[in-house]
Amino acid sequence: MAKAFFIDTTLCTACRGCQVACKQWHDLPAEITTNRGTFQNPADLTFSTYKLVRMTEEVIDKKLTWLFFPDQCRHCIEAPCLETAENSDAIYRDEDTGAILYTIKTKELDAESIISSCPYNIPRKAEDGTISKCDMCNDRVHNGLKPACVATCPTGTMNFGEREEMLALGEKRLAEVKEKFPNASLLDTDEVNVIYLVTHDSRLYHEYAMAPQSRKSGISRKVALRKMMKPFASLMRV
């Protein structure tokens, strides 16, 4: 019964409604930013910015192309952050929705190892060491509403529903888009619950749009070891 997003970047106009709706619903403060010569603002995800429309300008086939990528947590099916934390009070999965959720107890974790475990470079740390990221608007989803970013999207870029439905929608859109963009693809469909449709090489959109091969091939040695030791560790605790 896991929920999933389908983010169709071919429809995105970078209006940033999702970004603002996310801030609005979560009562997050604004960032103080400076003009860096791009409309992408703020520059990066932060402790109080869970959603960010990344914008890149690329010359593709001698034509200026503006690529938009509404970046957010992917709510991984096997979440490396959750496995690295090994503390369900700090990072846990909501079994009903599949959302990966962070609590205030993330303060007790080693923030750097959690952040570096994320193949998509999503979690961000506050000064006091608490870590935050997108929570899939779990409160809304439990009450039959769509996440704030999806509800507000005027173009149909952001979609949310049962994982199977989103996969089907993704495949349907991919087939349609392929006619015009032969290199179009869905990103990391088997690993994540936030499925992106892109028309060009994912690295042009964002360095971490897709999980790097090194991370994709498996979890880090440290996490693998811990996973192996888990049955023993829980025995030890008894």
């Binding site: 209006c15 940033r16 409604g17 970004q19 603002v20 709706a21 609005q24 619903w25 979560h26 009562d27 997050l28 403060p29 402790f47 109080s48 009070d89 846990y92 959720l101 962070y102 609590t103 205030i104 107890k105 993330t106 506050a126 608490t130 870590i131 935050s132 990221k133 929570d135 779990n138 409160d139 809304r140 439990h142 009450n143 509403l145 704030a148 509800a151 507000t152 999207c153 005027p154």
Partner: protein
């Protein structure tokens, strides 16, 4: 902790981290179930129209039923024919029209050549505006054009706006501007 609804929302919602990392205690079980509770659960719902562009998107305003009745949330109205729940970045931010510490609540005046703004009363401001409109209009008023034809116009004032007005307000506004003799009347949705 003994909290009313509003304070409860502030505690749970206004922490920099939002619901995801907020807590009202140190036992995590209530936090986890609290994280599933909607902040708009006990709020009153009112519909409104976004004040920005001329599209006229519908929105739902959630206000606190108790105490000060302040705004908890504003989001797109899924039943509205224009936007069907969608809002752009400006529309998604309209809660800040009321819930914003930087919002001006009194008219401000900066005198010519002055470098600072000062607070003035509504009466003073309205009086001053009327006075200046009258003076500018009278000074630049043309009864006839160069060919001697009667025009009764002023080209000293122009009007741009307003997308936030409805049909009836536009009529009153148009009548006001025409009675002053304005000919430069434009609507920003066309610009």
């Amino acid at each position: 902790m003994n909290l009313n609804r509003r304070e409860f929302i502030q505690v749970s919602g206004a922490t920099a981290a939002g619901l995801a990392v907020s807590t009202l205690g140190f036992d995590l079980k209530p936090v986890k179930s609290h994280a599933q509770m909607l902040k708009t659960k006990y709020a009153k719902e009112t519909t409104t129209i976004c004040c920005y562009c001329a599209v006229g998107c519908g929105a739902i305003v959630h206000t606190s039923k108790r105490g000060d009745g302040r705004v908890i949330n504003i989001e797109g109205d899924p039943d509205h024919v224009i936007n069907r729940g969608a809002l752009c970045s400006k529309g998604a931010s309209i809660k800040q029209l009321t819930e914003n510490e930087n919002r001006l609540t009194r008219p401000m005046y900066r005198a010519p050549y002055s470098t600072k703004w000062e607070e003035v009363s509504w009466d003073w401001a309205l009086e001053k505006i009327a006075e200046r409109v009258k003076k500018t209009r009278d000074d630049g008023f043309e009864k006839t054009n160069s060919k001697g034809q009667v025009v009764n116009r002023t080209t000293s004032i122009a009007s741009v706006g307003s997308a936030a007005m409805d049909n009836e307000e536009c009529w009153i506004y148009q009548a006001l501007l025409r009675s002053l003799g304005l000919v430069y009347i434009e609507h920003q949705a066309r610009i």
